[in-house]
């Protein structure tokens, strides 16, 4: 066993995916972007149904202009950490605007959404504390659990009763309790029952952190996510999110009413020991936040589109989760079947994400699709037709529902 021999297994698994002439699903190159919904892949115009750009704001002209102006005024990088030389007026402005949007006391902006989870969770739950994670949590949450020193207990996915049982088992033991859930789960599109989780957390004297990465700009009356949709925004201790989905840029944040957030800044290593976001990203994010606030109809359009695509996939006989959300995953039985279908979809001009176990729940491969507010009804219907055609070409026996 040498240092590098552990990669033999990765090599073999990758070969098994590409063996029959298939593409490397982890190396798709989008050669150019025509709009938020179409790009050029392998020289062909391709419908984009796998970009997480839910509101289509990555291409927002006002954000592009704001980025240009910020680069002109501040340069293209901060070359410093938030706690040293990397905080400019723009960073504080963005933090203020996000905190105000959530009606919370303060906000911390991180360089990525991954680091926001990594930093907040590992810093909040310390030695002698207990960290409770949903079983289907994102890798950033599991990595936070590894980086931190708390005792980590998993509960069954989206099951507040199971969380209650696990919190009850440690009743009377010293130490704080932090419960972490996601608003929308990134692989399946499942929405968490935040009210029920908030009730359990309050009853068991635990704090609640909700990761709204995939639900911000999507759920809730003003798009603030699953906690707002459930009417319990005021019962969540920490909301974490990302700029790389609805905001259309890159970065992460945490908002909270707890004044101790000021001191988290001085304890949180993934915040302290990395360079801050460059000015053009901060400026573009402020512009897309304004767009999200000013144009609530984007959210209505997104949910209408999600419902149309969800119904379309079900109509042609593909299985998806029961809930309509902008993440819609077609669930398949076997990996080779999913790989063939994914390749054929790309041949025919539809890009989606191929997600394989163990990154997926229940050991099933997924063709994970993300819908955008900017998709037209024609693009959605065309994508559904291509799904049906690709499934036929791959010899999948689907039973259409109409």
């Amino acid at each position: 066993m040498t240092l590098l021999s552990k990669f033999d297994d990765v090599h073999n698994r990758l070969n098994s995916l590409t063996g029959a002439g298939g593409r490397n699903p982890f190396d798709v190159v989008i050669e150019s972007i025509n709009s938020s919904t179409t790009g050029i892949i392998e020289g062909r115009e391709t419908l984009l149904f796998g970009t997480n750009n839910y509101l289509g704001l990555s291409q927002l002209p006002a954000a592009i202009e704001a980025a240009r102006e910020a680069a002109n005024s501040f340069g293209v990088g901060t070359t410093g950490s938030r706690i040293a030389n990397g905080t400019q007026s723009l960073h504080r402005q963005l933090e203020r605007r996000i905190a105000d949007h959530f009606g919370q006391r303060d906000c911390m902006v991180f360089s990525t959404g991954y680091q926001a989870n990594l930093g907040m969770i590992s810093t909040l739950a310390g030695k002698d504390d207990f960290l409770f994670l949903d079983g289907d949590s994102h890798a950033s949450i599991y990595d936070a659990a590894k980086l931190g020193t708390a005792q980590v207990i998993r509960f069954r996915h989206n099951d507040p009763e199971n969380l209650h049982r696990r919190l009850s088992r440690i009743q009377g033991e010293p130490g704080g309790r932090l419960v972490v859930v996601e608003g929308i789960y990134s692989m399946t599109g499942n929405v968490a029952p935040i009210k029920e989780f908030a009730d359990v957390a309050r009853e068991c004297n635990a704090m609640l952190l909700v990761d709204e990465a995939h639900s911000f700009g999507v759920l809730g009356e003003t798009g603030r996510g699953a906690a707002e949709a459930a009417g319990v925004l005021d019962q969540v201790d920490f909301i974490v999110g990302t700029f790389s989905k609805s905001f259309g840029t890159v970065g992460g944040y945490c908002v909270s009413n707890h004044p101790q957030l000021d001191y988290v800044r001085l304890q949180c290593r993934p915040y302290m020991f990395t360079a801050s976001l460059p000015p053009e990203v901060i400026a573009a994010t402020m512009a897309t936040l304004q767009e999200i606030i000013d144009r609530p109809e984007l959210r209505t359009q997104l949910m209408d589109n999600a419902a149309r695509f969800h119904a379309g996939l079900n109509r042609i006989g593909l299985s998806t989760g029961p809930q309509v959300s902008p993440v819609i995953a077609a669930v398949l039985d076997e990996v080779p079947q999913a790989v063939a279908l994914w390749n054929r979809l790309l041949d025919l001009g539809v890009y989606v994400n191929l997600s394989l176990p163990p990154a997926t729940p229940d050991d099933r491969p997924l063709l994970r699709c993300s819908v955008m507010a900017s998709h037209t009804a024609e693009q959605i219907d065309r994508a559904v037709d291509i799904f049906a055609e690709a499934a036929r070409d791959c010899g999948l026996s689907l039973t259409p529902k109409d």
Binding site: G135, Q151, V152, R154, P358, D363
Partner: protein
Amino acid sequence: MLTADEISAVIVGKLLSNPKVPRDISGSSRIVEDLAFDSLAVMNFVMEIEDELDISIPLDRLADIRTIDDLATTIVALRTDS
């Protein structure tokens, strides 16, 4: 309170209810190598055992667990601590 051997037997019984698990497993079977479980399958299997025995096994304890008997010994230790 159940002994480690009794807990091992409960775990083996639970595993055998999954048709994908080899039939010839015992307390000394290694969870990753002999059962061919990936990281997620290990965590999901531990969750089944937790609910069966009404105990929580912190994830960091799993690093030291190689065999079914190791898991049973850890459960006895956790019960003794609490």
